[in-house]
Structures are given as C-alpha cells and as structure tokens.
C-alpha cells in the first residue's frame, strides 16, 4: 500500500520575477479609473494617500477554504476583533479586496478560489495561512490537494504555522498593511503581468477547465 501518488505539479522554483518594470508605486487601478498622465510629485503623494486608505480598510472575502478558517471566527468576533484594524468580512468577492486562503486547497476548491479571486476588483491581495499553502503541509502526498499556492495565485503574505493563531493572523494583516502602504504588495499586478504563466499552471492541475477568461 505504499503507492505514492505523483501530483501533477508544475516545476518548483516559484513564479517568475516581474518581467517588465512595474507601474509607478500605487498607480491607480480602481475599477474604471483612467490612468491619466500626472506630474510625478502629485502622483506620488496621491499614491501614498491612496495606499494609506487601502491599507486601513481591508475587506476580506468570507470564504473559508480550509481548516484555517476556524481561527478566522475568533478573529472576526469579539475576542480579537479585527474590525478595529479596519478589516471587515464581506460576503461577496465583488466587495472585497483581500482573499484569505486558509490552508490546503483541494483541486476542486482551487477552481472556485481562482474564480473568486478573478472576480475581485483590483487592487487585491491574497493572504495565505498555514503550512499547507507553503509546501503542502501534512497533505503533501495527497492526490487531491495542491502543495504550493503561489504557483497558481499570487500570494502577498504567508502566515506560517499549523494552524496560525488569531494573534499570528493579526501580525500577518499588519504586515500586509505595511506592505500595502509601502506599495510592495503588488501580487495582483504580478498576476496580471504573468497571467500566461499562472494560467498554464492552473490548467495543468485543473483538468476540467471551464473558467471564463480573466478580463480586467
């Protein structure tokens, strides 16, 4: 009974580094906003202000993908109260800009997660919880889960642990905010730029591919 199932995984080594220079820090990507040429100083100041606002109102999509979701409940409720950090749970992807992948993703879930992520308006961020998203966790040899999330979706912050406690989640969100304010959290842009690479990986593992094309 020692049959190890070989997972159809793309080669390791992580996603490609940004292939072309990034747009200026925090350049507007609000839905429908037009990119107008602006004077740099004004533009930069605006970007900084925008990032500040973004960082302080993270709306999280309420989708518990795996076991880590159970620690989101204490975080969302009275004891740890993430609303004081400006984080709120939203019911639909169209209202949210943070996707929490709480642990392992079965292939069937991955498909839904990709779809939900693509429905979210930019700028958007992915927070990945726990070992399973980093290197497969305890399901590393399971035939039905993916091992490494950033082969399929751009991850901005990994929170280590199995499973991370609400306190660690708070630290993770604070790190995400810090990165947003500094303009470093640009996974969504990376996804956009390397869409072909991500799609190729996704199609390798999702065999019944029927997702619509990602349109901006």
């Amino acid at each position: 009974m020692d049959d190890k199932i070989v997972k159809p995984e793309p080669p390791l080594g992580g996603p490609p580094q940004g292939s072309r220079p990034h747009a200026p820090v925090g350049d507007g990507c609000f839905l429908g906003e037009e990119m107008k040429p602006q004077a740099p100083s004004y533009k930069e100041a605006l970007a900084r202000i925008k990032n500040w606002f973004r960082a302080n109102s993270l709306w999280v999509m309420a989708y518990g993908t795996g076991c880590g979701a159970i620690e989101l409940r204490p975080l969302a409720t009275a004891r740890f109260d993430m609303e004081r950090l400006g984080i709120a749970m939203r019911p639909t992807p169209r209202q949210s800009n943070v996707l929490i992948v709480s642990g392992y993703l079965a292939v069937k879930s991955l498909k839904r997660v990709i779809r939900s992520y693509e429905q979210m308006p930019s700028p958007k961020w992915i927070v990945a919880l726990g070992s399973c998203t980093i290197n497969g966790g305890m399901y590393w040899d399971s035939y039905n889960t993916i091992n490494r999330l950033d082969l399929y979706l751009p991850v901005d912050v990994y929170i280590n642990g199995c499973m991370p406690r609400p306190e660690a989640l708070v630290a993770g969100f604070q790190e995400l905010m810090r990165r947003i304010k500094k303009g470093e959290a640009d996974g969504w842009r990376h996804y956009m730029e390397n869409l072909d690479w991500y799609k190729e990986n996704q199609k390798k593992i999702i065999t019944d591919w029927d997702l619509p094309e990602y349109n901006w």
């Binding site: 980093i134 290197n135 305890m138 991850v155 912050v157 990994y158 280590n160 306190e167 660690a168 993770g172």
Partner: protein, 595 residues
C-alpha cells in the same frame, strides 16, 4: 410569541456595561501557553543527529542536513524543519533520543517568500532561540523504549565455582522485544570499526527472520559469535537510545542470532563473485584479522592457507578470552565454516624466517596478523622474582590445558580486559584477587560491564596505585609495594589523564602471585630481517596504508599489530580492509598508492 419575546433580546444591552471580551491591542501578541507547540528549538550541542525526528515526521518536514563534521556518535547532521510541512504535532520532540529538540511557545512568523519558511533550529539564529517555555519532553511519556530487556546471568556466587558461561542469552521473545527498541539511526554503523549492518540485522531479528539476520551479520564479520559474546561494542556506546535510556543490547542480539544456528554453512547465502580463482594467499596468524582475510578471500575464490602457531584458530580470542565468556564450541562453529568455505588451516605451526620468504614467493599476496603476543614487563625492581607472572602466559597456559597455580592471593597489575580476564580466571582458580590500577576507575580500558562483573565476583579494585617494587618475603610470599597516585591532566586534549606518584607513601600487599597485565607487544623474531626492517615502526607496530598493505608490496597486515585499539572488531575491520587491498593487488596488479 408574545411581547416578552420582542423585548427580551434587548437584554443584550446589559453587556454594554460589562467588561469587554476583546483582548486589548497591546496584548494581542500574548505568549503561548507554557507547553504551547510553536517553532522548533534545538540544542545542537546535545543533538547527535540520529534522525529519529525525521523518521517519525509524517509530513517529511524534517531533513537532516550536515552542519559539522561527523564524529563518533554524532552524525554531524542536524534537523532542518520545513514549515511548509510541519503540522506542530511535536512527535519529533517526544521521540527525540537526546531530548535536545523542543518547541518554543512563539507562534508568529509572517513571510513573503515561501522558500524562506525553513531553518535549522539551533544553527540558524531565530528570535525564539533559548526560549524557556514551550513543548518539551516530559518524564512519563516516551515514544521509544528506554529500558533494555534484562539479560539473564549466572549468580556471582555460583559462577566463580564454574567455567560455565556467565551470560545465559536471550530467548526468542526477549530478543525480538529487545530488537524492537531499535530506532535505526545508524550511528552504530559509523561507530563500528567493521561497519556492520547493525540496524539491518536487528530489524531482521525483530521480524523473526534470523537467517536474514545472520546473512547481514556475515556480510562483514566472519566471527560473529565471538563478537556477540566479547565485543568491546563501541556501537552501544553511541547508540542514540542509550543517551537517555539504556543502549540497545546490540552485542547480545548478535549473539542471539548466531546461537540460533548450529551450522552456519547451511543458512548463509553469500552473494559474491568468485573473482579470485587461481590466486593464492597465505595468512600468517589465525586471529580475527587473519580469519577475516581468509574467509572473505575464500568465498571470493582465492586459495587461502592460514598458518597458526597455537593448536586452534582464534588468536587472542582463543588463548586470551576465558571460556566463561567465549566457550570453545562457539569458536569451533566459526572455524568450521571457515573450513567449509575452502580455507586450508595449518595449526600448531610457527612460520619462521625461511618459510616466510618461501611463502612470499609462492603466493600472490601474504597477510600477517600475528598480534601482540609478548607482555611488557613491569619495569620496577623485583620484577624478575619467582611468582611474578604474566597474565598472557597465565591465560594461554590455562587455555591450552596446562595446569596453572595462582596460590591463595594474587594482585593483578593493569586495568585492561586482559587484567580483568586474568583476575576472574584467578578467582575461579580459587584465589583472592586484587586489581591494582594506576589511574581512576573511569579511565580503565576494560569494559565497564566486565569491571562490574569482576567486582560482583568479589574482586577488589585498588585504583591510583603505582607499583614501586616487588620483594620476596621470608614466608615465601611476595610483598607488592605500591604508592598512591594523583592525577595530572593529559598533555593533549582527549588523552588519558596521567597518574603521578605521591612520594613518601608506601603500601604493602602480601600475595602469592603478582600478575602483570600492563600491556603487550608484538614480536618480530620470526620475521626475516629485511622484512621486519621495512614494516616495523620504532614503537613496535606495523604501518599499513589505507588498503592494509605494508611498506613491502604484497605484504598486508592487520589486527592488534596495526591498530591502536587492540580489540577483535578492529582486527576484523583491518581484515576487511586488507581483503579489498589484496583483491586489488592480486587482480589488478596495482601497487596501491602509499599515503
């Protein structure tokens, strides 16, 4: 449904005045509980790199990575933990043989790059290093079995009256139970001079497949029954289970495996190519090294002849080791296999200079392992008096069947296994025995278990005693005069501390015999001058290169003459080395590079 049910929920408002549940922001990083399982910590000094943690990790989260050079009992590897796998189950902590691995109660770690989520605790600095709290091993819970299955032994009072074997031996159940304690770390394989496949044969014993066990054992040890009874077992000294508990009884398990079979030839399946057809090799000296060379060359098709001066093969294991430790039938069983493997055995035959020259011409290679057959003298005045005898002579005479007398009381000078053997033999011959040793008990080269057995048999141990002289008394007894010693530190690190005489104090001990067992040397009188001149060093040893070959091409050597540890398993290791060397030399005709 009533108005009550409409109003009642508003009771929730009373909560507005109660203390909030919410943990204040400043406390959101509250510490984990005292035994919280967080990030790993490892005391790398305590850790020996046994890899048990990696074995038990079901997530394959632990890799053993080299962090320093392996030394005896330390593989030099340390666990590297992948937090993309770890599930915080802490089985690795609970199974850790040294207790070095633990988990801190720190739990916060945010990372951008998933590749960075792994580190070697204790080696890669982390903020939680040295954390006091967290999950640690606890008394009362262990995933390995720390206590050894006790070995039944004869009662000390009974055994001094007989020459019967002291160790009774495991039953099948006991052996399998003991074998099941092994964690297969393999530190023993590295420690064993002959690198025997210890975890493999223990595993086979555990599974009840004793034939397979014997195959594994015979793969690199042609005298396993001897080793199973008298080995110095460096393997047990490094056994990782022994760090917190008692080491696996590796020696007893080997003994058990060999005792299961009357005729080894029937159950062994050596898988070797008979490459040496037509090549002749002479082996001078039938000790463990010679037997090793003979057996493994013979199974490879070489034509081997062993020349042995004593009536039986076995060398020091025949004439030196008393029969209550290693009975004759066991030795004969092994010699029997040698004969069946096609080795020609010439006993009671001492090779002299001319014959040596002839052997050198007639054979493709020559191996000698003549051992340390001569005792060193005491070196103090009175050492030539009648009654001062040598342990080697005593043991040899006893074993070849000569009558030996030791009188009523003896003092044995020395602290090695020879001294202990001589004492216990004297004890069985009816004497009161005192062992005088210059250093402390913990410095004694003899096996700990042997010393304990000796003491149980009523042998007295006088340590830190330096022999000054021996005098003849008027009543015919000998006066053994010794002075106390203090210890001075060794001149090089790792060396033995040195005893220094405290002058002005003389102690007397009246005995019938003084038995000297301070050390032995090789003798080279039988060897042609030109050969001896080339191969012998100024300290009385023989120098060989990494293939076992001496300075004289075609002459190989091994055993106590060559190695510094002077035990059987090292001799076997030398033999194994020489087997490869001889094969290379005779078949490929290469003059192996000198180191």
């Amino acid at each position: 449904m009533s108005l009550k049910h409409v109003l009642q929920p508003f009771n929730a408002w009373v909560q507005a005045f109660s203390k909030p549940y919410t943990i204040p922001m400043k406390d959101t990083m509250r510490p984990g509980a005292d035994r919280y399982r967080g990030w790993h910590i490892n005391d790398v000094e305590k850790c020996v790199g046994c890899g048990t943690c990696a074995d038990i990790c079901q997530n394959a989260a632990i890799d053993m990575v080299p962090v320093k050079d392996p030394v005896k009992g330390d593989s030099g590897l340390r666990p590297k933990i992948d937090y993309g796998r770890c599930c915080w189950c802490a089985l690795c902590v609970d199974v850790c043989t040294t207790g070095s691995l633990g988990m801190s109660n720190e739990y916060t770690w945010v990372e951008k790059d998933p590749e960075k989520c792994r580190y070697t605790p204790g080696v890669d600095a982390k903020p939680w290093d040295g954390s006091e709290k967290g999950w640690r091993q606890e008394e009362g819970f262990s995933l390995i079995v720390k206590d050894r299955v006790p070995m039944p032994m004869l009662d000390p009072k009974e055994r001094i009256k007989t020459w019967a074997e002291v160790v009774v031996g495991y039953s099948v159940e006991e052996a399998r139970k003991e074998a099941a304690r092994c964690v297969s770390c393999g530190l023993c394989v590295a420690a064993c001079p002959a690198h025997m496949h210890i975890p493999d044969y223990i595993g086979a014993i555990r599974d009840g497949d004793f034939e397979k066990a014997l195959d594994f054992i015979y793969d690199n040890n042609p005298m396993p029954e001897m080793c199973g009874k008298v080995c110095t077992r460096r393997c047990e000294g490094v056994c990782s289970v022994g760090i917190q508990g008692e080491p696996l009884a590796i020696r007893w398990l080997k003994r058990f495996a060999t005792e299961q079979f009357e005729d080894f030839a029937k159950v062994l399946h050596p898988e070797v190519k008979r490459v040496g057809e037509g090549k002749k090799v002479a082996v001078v000296g039938g000790g463990p090294s010679g037997v090793t060379v003979a057996y493994y060359l013979a199974v490879r098709g070489f034509e081997v002849t062993i020349y042995e001066a004593l009536p039986q093969l076995g060398g020091a294991t025949f004439f030196g080791i008393p029969k209550y430790r290693f009975p004759m039938p066991s030795l004969e069983k092994q010699v029997d296999l040698l004969k069946k493997a096609g080795v020609k055995i010439v006993t009671d035959h001492r090779v002299e200079k001319d014959e040596f020259r002839r052997l050198l011409e007639e054979n493709d290679a020559l191996f000698f392992g003549t051992g340390l057959m001569k005792p060193y003298k005491l070196g103090v005045p009175g050492e030539d008096l009648e009654g001062v005898i040598y342990a080697l002579d005593l043991l040899r005479d006893h074993h070849v069947g000569k009558k030996v007398e030791v009188g009523e009381s003896v003092v044995v000078v020395g602290g090695g296994n020879v001294a202990i053997d001589a004492s216990r033999v004297s004890r069985r011959l009816g004497a009161e025995v005192t062992i005088a040793y210059r250093r402390r008990r913990e410095d004694m080269p003899a096996d700990d278990e042997e010393i304990e057995d000796a003491e149980a048999e009523g042998i007295e141990l006088v340590t830190q005693s330096i022999p000054l002289r021996v005098e003849k008394l008027e009543n015919g007894k000998l006066d053994f005069i010794w002075g106390p010693a203090e210890m001075v530190p060794p001149d090089r690190p790792g060396g033995r501390p040195k005893p220094k005489l405290i002058e002005g104090v003389e102690n007397h001990l009246q005995v019938d015999r003084v038995i000297v067992a301070i050390g032995q040397k090789g003798e080279f009188e039988w060897m042609p001058e030109e050969v001896a001149e080339k191969v012998v060093t100024s300290r009385g040893w023989v120098e060989v290169d990494e293939t076992g070959m001496t300075q004289w091409p075609g002459i190989f050597a091994g055993g106590d003459l060559v190695n510094s540890t002077a035990d059987a398993i090292s001799a076997i290791a030398d033999g194994l080395k020489a087997v490869e060397g001889i094969q290379q030399f005779t078949l490929e005709g290469l003059s192996v590079s000198k180191s």
